[in-house]
């Protein structure tokens, strides 16, 4: 396993955040985003009037307990789900105005995904899985870039293996590579370390962050794990479908404190360094 020279000892000791105002260089943002399921008495409000923006070139985490609406928020931001009301923009493109086919086309070109589980198609080998979105778009990845990504992720000797021949951590790394290859506007990661042991998890998180640092990739990660959240530059807290907090460069302890405060009914904020 070969990693580049860069490796972060602990996330909290590094603090760097691109200073940019949210609206002009927001990679993805939402306005009045609402999502309800069901009808009448059985209706459930997953998101209620959420206004949020995610900066370019930043690693942002969306945090909350189960049922807070964090996954729903990510799905709506990524164009995987349509909100009941409100708007979502990816850069200058309004996602909520697009039809399914356009959304799908947009997803394959401008958004990357890393899911918690079932990331890869069992029928394809690692290499084929990696290039799948680009193939669907009908384009081929830049060979040099692909080489670099494979090298960075240490997958050179795993390219011809099928997912059932790879470990959980290796599968996630293939997923990360897949997300990186088309150099998308945003990479959405939904609990990427949820199924991994702590060491593989740390690997994947480190990779995500290094992509942000080295290539200016925007990453938005949904997680419930405070340690994972501490890898991010900014943590957005959700509770009951509403924004309930905004932390910048938090440590794991900061996050835990903020969560506890939420439970006690308050909101938590902390300034940046």
């Amino acid at each position: 396993m070969s990693y580049p020279a860069y490796s972060a000892p602990h996330p909290a000791s590094v603090s760097r955040r691109p200073a940019a105002s949210p609206t002009t260089s927001a990679a993805v943002r939402s306005l009045g985003l609402t999502k309800t399921y069901g009808r009448g008495e059985a209706s459930v409000t997953a998101l209620a009037e959420v206004d949020v923006a995610f900066a370019r070139g930043a690693f942002t985490a969306i945090m909350g307990s189960s049922g807070s609406g964090k996954s729903t928020l990510m799905h709506c931001l990524a164009g995987l789900d349509t909100p009941s009301s409100g708007q979502v923009w990816l850069g200058e493109t309004e996602l909520t105005a697009l039809r399914d086919t356009e959304l799908t086309t947009l997803r394959r070109e401008r958004i990357g995904f890393v899911f918690q589980a079932f990331n890869l198609l069992p029928v394809l080998d690692a290499r084929a899985n990696m290039v799948l979105p680009m193939e669907l778009a009908g384009s081929t990845p830049d060979p040099a870039w692909m080489q670099a990504v494979i090298a960075r992720l240490g997958l050179a000797d795993r390219l011809t293996h099928r997912p059932d021949e790879l470990s959980g951590g290796q599968q996630q790394r293939v997923a990360v590579a897949r997300a990186l290859l088309p150099r998308p506007d945003v990479i959405f990661a939904d609990e990427p370390t949820g199924n991994l042991d702590s060491r593989s998890g740390a690997d994947v998180l480190g990779l995500l962050r290094s992509s942000v640092r080295e290539t200016g990739q925007t990453v938005v990660m949904v997680t419930h794990d405070p340690i994972a959240a501490s890898y991010a530059d900014r943590v957005v807290l959700l509770a009951d479908g509403r924004l309930a907090g905004d932390l910048s460069d938090p440590t794991a302890d900061d996050v835990i404190d903020a969560l506890r405060q939420l439970e006690l009914g308050g909101t938590a904020r902390s300034g940046g360094f």
């Binding site: 799905h75 995987l80 789900d81 399914d100 086919t101 799908t104 086309t105 997803r107 394959r108 070109e109 995904f113 899911f115 079932f118 990331n119 198609l121 069992p122 029928v123 394809l124 799948l132 979105p133 193939e135 669907l136 778009a137 897949r178």
Partner: protein
Amino acid sequence: MWKITLAQVRAHAGRLIASCLAIVIAVGFVVATLVLNETASASIARAVGAQYVDTDAVVLPDRTGGPLGPSNDVSTGPSLNELAPRIAEVDGVAAIAADTEAFAQALVPGRSGSQYVTVDSIPDEEALRWMRLSDGALPDAVGEVAVSARVGARVGDTISVTTYPSASPGGPVTEGTPEAVTDEVTVVGVVDLSGDPTAGLRGRFFATPQQVAAWGGADPTQLRVAATDGTDAATLVGALRAVLAEAGSSAIVRTGAEQAAEQVATLTGDNLALATFLLVFGAIAVFVAGLVIANTFAVLLAQRTRELALLRCIGATARQVRRGVLVEAAITGLAASALGVGIGIALAALVSALAAGVESPIPLGGLSVPPYAVATGLAVGTLVTVLSALAPSKAATRVAPLAALRPMDNAPLRSRRGLVRLVLGLGLLLPGLALTALGVAIGGILVALPGGMLSTLGALLLLQRAIPPVVALAGRLIGGLGGVPARLAAGNATRNPRRTAATATALLIGVTLTTALLVGAASTRATVAADLDRSYPTDVIVRSFSEPMPAALAEQLRAVDRVEQATALVRTNATGPDGTPSEVLGIDVAQARSTVRAAQDELPGPGQVTVNTDLAQQWGLAEGDPVTFSTDGSAVELSAHLVDGYDLLMSPEDVLSLDPAAGFGQIWLRLSDDLDAEASAKAIDEITDLASQAVPSIDITGLISVRQAINSILDTLLLVVTGLLGIAVVIALIGVGNTLALSVIERRQENGLMRALGLTRGQLRGLLAWEALLVAGVAAVLGVMAGSFYGLAGTAAILGETGEVILDFPFLQVLAVVVVATGAGVLASVLPARRATRTSPVAAMMT
């Protein structure tokens, strides 16, 4: 468990309907086949043996010879007339009828040409009268007749009837012209002969025994006996046989039913073949229905593995779960089978009604529902459903509950189960193929059929191993064409052999069956046609008794509409090797070749005379032996050529050398091809008219009508078979739809992931369509290959014992099957694809 079972039934009504549908249709198919079998057999027996059905015992003289050639009475002992009083005294005999027959020429007002009719006597005893009237009444005095519909006369018409009471055809040839007697008779009734395939051959008259005797029919041809109440037919036959043996008679006694069966056998050539054919088809129906139910049900149950595992997690024991599944299967199976039985009977009734409307030669008159059909339908449906629920229920309970809740893993082929399948599959396939080959070699369908079934089962088991490489190969071909969706489709199809094989199996069964029947039917038709042409090579034979026919008659007959060719044969009497006079005929072979339809080797070569094989045996001749015929003054020695026909044929020169004054004795006519029954009847009437004007004592034999009758029987059978085929195909399609739907559900997460990554809805539909196309295409091609093999083997096995088999391969029809099957497979993927694309990616992945 009960409540859970019921709740599940209610919740999954849709899925249950799908599985019920397969059972209902499959059982309906089986029951319809069996009922139609029985109805057809009963109808044929009833129609053809109409006169024997109500008769308890029949006494017949011992006869040799073919049904259409001269038959010789070789019985010994007292004549039937003498036996009648003795039989009347036997205990248990209620009434006797001595059936007599005569032959006459009838001129019906308003019809062109006279007809040659047979006249049957009407018994005095009511109990033995079998004639059904469609108009008027039966005659009770001399000068009255009842006619069959073929005659074309109405009640009240007066018909002029010419008979030769002093001569009877088939007997010894007399010198000089037999004396003709012409009477006028009144038609008093029309007899309903509908359902008798021979009714169209020639007209029939029915008259009192006195009238028949006046026309030359004095000696009874058979005695029909009615038993007293309480005497059963078999006992009566036994008693009669005793009496006859005592009297030193070699006459034959049979029960009415046996004689009816004999009649059917004579008509269809081989009773066993007909019964076997229908039995075979019934067996195939059961087999196919069983396979498809098993396939469909297993697939549907596999969906519920997780549900069942969940039940186990919350506390149901393995046995409770298994029992619940089996009970559910039994109830579903029984209910659906009952419905299927009802539908099958209804379907058979519909087919029977349609056949009656179309005036088929075998009317499926009424409906004959044998209890075994109902029992078989219920048994097959319920049993197969329960059996097919066994394996999935065991599978669900064998795995630890939590493990079963995780996403399904693909069973690797190298597992122990895979090995068992391989061994079992080969163990069934190879012996099955050997049996089939044996059946073909010896011409025994009852050997080949089990062989076919075994090999099918074996092949289906091996399908899991065979399909992936074939699909992979085909996948590589389409991969280049269809882009990413096609390549993904190819990968999907090869990855899960079990699922691919299940989808392919459903379609394979339907395609194999269809192809086998198409190929079998085509080959059967070709073989039967050739056989008929060989057996009845001449359409019409015009024969005079002893008076020579004018030379111009042949040309006159040739000029008749729809007559294509005419050949005249010279005739004389010569003494054969046994010292008795025989009729010999001279035929111009070159001319005859264009007149006869086949059987070129039935004609004599130069220096040869054709001798019937039985006659040759009598004369002690082998093929090629010299045989001499002589008349006063000359003799000729020829080489014997053994044939099936009954005439002694030689060259015209040889006949003329025996008798320079020989005149024409027969004219062979060939009619246009593809004439229907009515057209050929008209042609024969015209021929009769012309010929009888020239020579009154003429005998016209319309062999073409016999051939047509047999052809229509075959057509009707094949029609019924093809109709039932459609049902088999529908079942197959349901199976395909089910397995495709299941595969879509199994891959929800994958499909959701791909949608998330950027596969558009259209591309997803394309992917599923490609997959369906791939699997359906492979299944269709494999099915067509297997079906062709079984069809040809089946035909060879069935017809092998009757002679040479001609194999005909209907290329166009088979190609159509491949196209339709593949298209149907793709079509079956439309609904599942819609469901897949309508689910949002997120919902799909979160399953």
